[in-house]
């Protein structure tokens, strides 16, 4: 369906009904006016014929042709009379005047014919019988003896009335055309008063929609509703612009703040990095010196030391080495916190087997039953997960050292939303009362002389798992073993995330 603009629709709706009305009124006027003219012509013709018949009675009766010709010539002067004939009782032409045309049949028509004898496009023939005066005297008689002594036929020309009709039609057509032009002009003028504001409004709406909030509408219109609409739109746009500005200001502030914070964070990070660099570099050298010189002392001055003296030097060396380990662990933890992760698909079965293999030195001389279930693949950072598994399995090996047969089980399943892995051992376990200290940095649940360690391993585990979007928890019982669980995202979830990021990157 074709869509018209509002202007054309208004014009059509306004013009069509009035045009129909005007045309039908004019048609009616034209019709009645031309009927009037025709009727008038007929009436006049009848009157002329009647008068002629009366006045020519004597002439016909006396067959005085000169007299009749005189009368006929007089009648010819009357307007619209084109010609006439006077007939005697035998329908013979007595007198013919003017440009009479047409045949002379059917003389014996009834008296006082209401209709013309004949009618053509150019003429109207009116027949009037000539009746003798004696008959006219005998009016009281019920059945008067009508004696027709002749007839007149008057031919009335339609030329003048038809001309009048044509002129009338022409004037009507011109008036209609003028009316049409004038109404078109009026409608277009009036509709411009409505449609042009509406068009302005719609144009402004488009501009606002496109984000040009500076747009304002000013309508020169006399239509209240449109003015209200324009004012409302202006108000809304102003409000929108104001809020937009506000949001932009807030955004700019936020961005500024983010930049500041990022700079602060970056500088803090740089400080931290140089700090850990210093730690790794400068703190170890003195320890190396302590251990080294104690060792030299023990070797070169052994003869001058008693057993207690040697033991004390051993203690110094042990502690220097322990401190070295502590520094290494702190640095490992700091790296776990700082480093960015690279998420990939991880074959957990292969990774666990590999890590288990690498822990062979720790397992030396031990009887361990290692049970590895079929683990689902996960989405995560390979290096981080290697560290996590290393720490958890190392712990399991360490805390089962007092068991004759240690049992370490690695299990895993998916619940549709994430993968859940567990590492269970039958080792020393722990008291659930201290569960909140289990994953804390430098927090240990066992004495230094029971199990070696700095209390960093599980803190690193938790940090890495959390960074990969997982959770970690544990259950244990003193003397019965411990189980550690951690979750990782599904490989699919990881893929989705990656696609999302790619999409964002493409979009941005």
């Amino acid at each position: 369906m074709k869509r018209f603009g509002i202007r054309r629709q208004v014009a059509l709706l306004t013009l069509i009904p009035s045009l129909i009305m005007v045309v039908s009124l004019e048609a009616f006027f034209l019709y009645s006016r031309s009927s009037d003219l025709d009727q008038g012509l007929l009436e006049r013709g009848k009157l002329i014929a009647h008068q002629l018949a009366s006045s020519s009675e004597y002439g016909v009766f006396s067959n005085n042709q000169a007299f009749l010709q005189n009368i006929a010539n007089g009648v010819l002067h009357q307007p619209d009379v084109r010609g006439l004939v006077i007939l005697d009782s035998a329908s013979e032409t007595l007198i013919s005047a003017g440009k009479f045309s047409g045949s002379l049949n059917n003389m014996n028509e009834a008296v006082n014919l209401p209709a013309p004898l004949r009618s053509s496009a150019e003429s109207l023939w009116i027949y009037q019988p000539i009746i003798s005066a004696q008959v006219a005297l005998d009016e009281s008689d019920n059945k008067p003896d009508i004696q027709q002594i002749g007839a007149v036929i008057v031919e009335m020309s339609r030329l003048r009335t038809e001309g009048l009709k044509t002129r009338m039609l022409r004037v009507t057509v011109i008036v209609t055309a003028l009316f049409l032009v004038f109404s078109l002009y009026l409608v277009s003028f009036a509709s411009r008063g409505i449609t042009s504001p509406i068009r302005k409004l719609s144009k402004a709406m488009r501009a606002i929609g496109a984000g040009n909030l500076d747009t304002r509408i000013s309508l020169q219109t006399h239509v209240d509703e449109l003015d209200t609409l324009a004012q409302g739109l202006n108000k809304m746009t102003a409000q929108l612009q104001h809020e937009h500005e506000e949001i932009r200001t807030i955004n700019a502030e936020l961005e500024q703040r983010v930049i500041q914070r990022t700079a602060q964070l970056e500088s803090a990070n740089a400080d931290l990095e140089s700090f850990s660099y210093s730690v790794s570099h400068d703190l170890r050298a003195p320890l190396r010196a302590i251990d080294g010189f104690v060792a030299i002392l023990r070797e070169e001055y052994a003869s001058k030391l008693d057993e207690e003296g040697l033991r004390l030097f051993n203690v110094v060396g042990d502690n220097a080495r322990k401190m070295g380990q502590l520094i290494d662990d702190i640095l490992a933890f700091s790296r776990a916190s700082r480093g960015e992760l690279l998420l990939t698909r991880i074959d957990m079965n292969a990774l666990v087997r590999q890590v288990w293999q690498e822990l062979e030195p720790q397992r030396a001389g031990r009887a361990i039953e290692f049970r590895l279930a079929d683990l689902p693949a996960a989405g995560g950072d390979l290096a981080a997960m290697r560290q996590v598994l290393q720490n958890l399995l190392d712990n399991a090996i360490k805390f089962t050292c007092e068991r004759e047969l240690a049992v370490i089980e690695v299990d895993g399943h998916t619940d549709g939303e994430e993968n859940i892995y567990s590492i269970r051992d039958n080792g020393a376990g722990f008291d659930m009362a201290y569960i909140d200290k289990l994953f804390g940095l430098f927090l240990r649940l066992h004495g230094m002389d029971e199990f070696k360690g700095t209390g960093v391993g599980l803190a690193i585990v938790r940090r890495f798992i959390m960074k990969q979007g997982g959770r970690v928890w544990a259950k244990g019982k003193p003397g019965e073993g411990a189980t550690f669980w951690f979750t990782l995202p599904l490989v699919d979830a990881y893929n989705e995330k990656k696609e999302l990021e790619n999409g964002e990157r493409r979009g941005g």
Partner: protein, 152 residues
Amino acid sequence: MEKGAAVDILLVEDNPTDAELVMRALKAHDLTDSVEQVKDGEAALDFLFRRGDYAARINSVPRVVFLDLRLPKVDGLEVLKQMRADEHTRLIPVVVMTSSGEERDIVASYQLGANSFISKPVAFEEFVKTVGDLGSYWMQVNKVASAGGAAG
């Protein structure tokens, strides 16, 4: 006038105790005969390029350089860079010996053409073994291209 004997090992180490421990470790492996120790990067470059205090040194390059990274004046990576940029010193094996095991140090060292990267252990026993192994390897096992000879 050239003076001094040819040097086999150039030890660039600012920490005297570390230096002493290295010397002891080398001594345990009888490798201390021709070791020269310098205490900063500038001295190392002076020695290698026979400038300043070493302007009159005999024209020979060491068979291996043990290079610490954290050094006063000119740091170890800069020393390495300048060595690799000069054709006289470009082929001298350089073993980076440092306290840290930071990944970025390792990467930077190898990128600048280090031949080996050693993180000095805290435990003395391990330290002696590591340094001894290094000395034996570079002095006795490894074959060196005679770039210094060609240059001289």
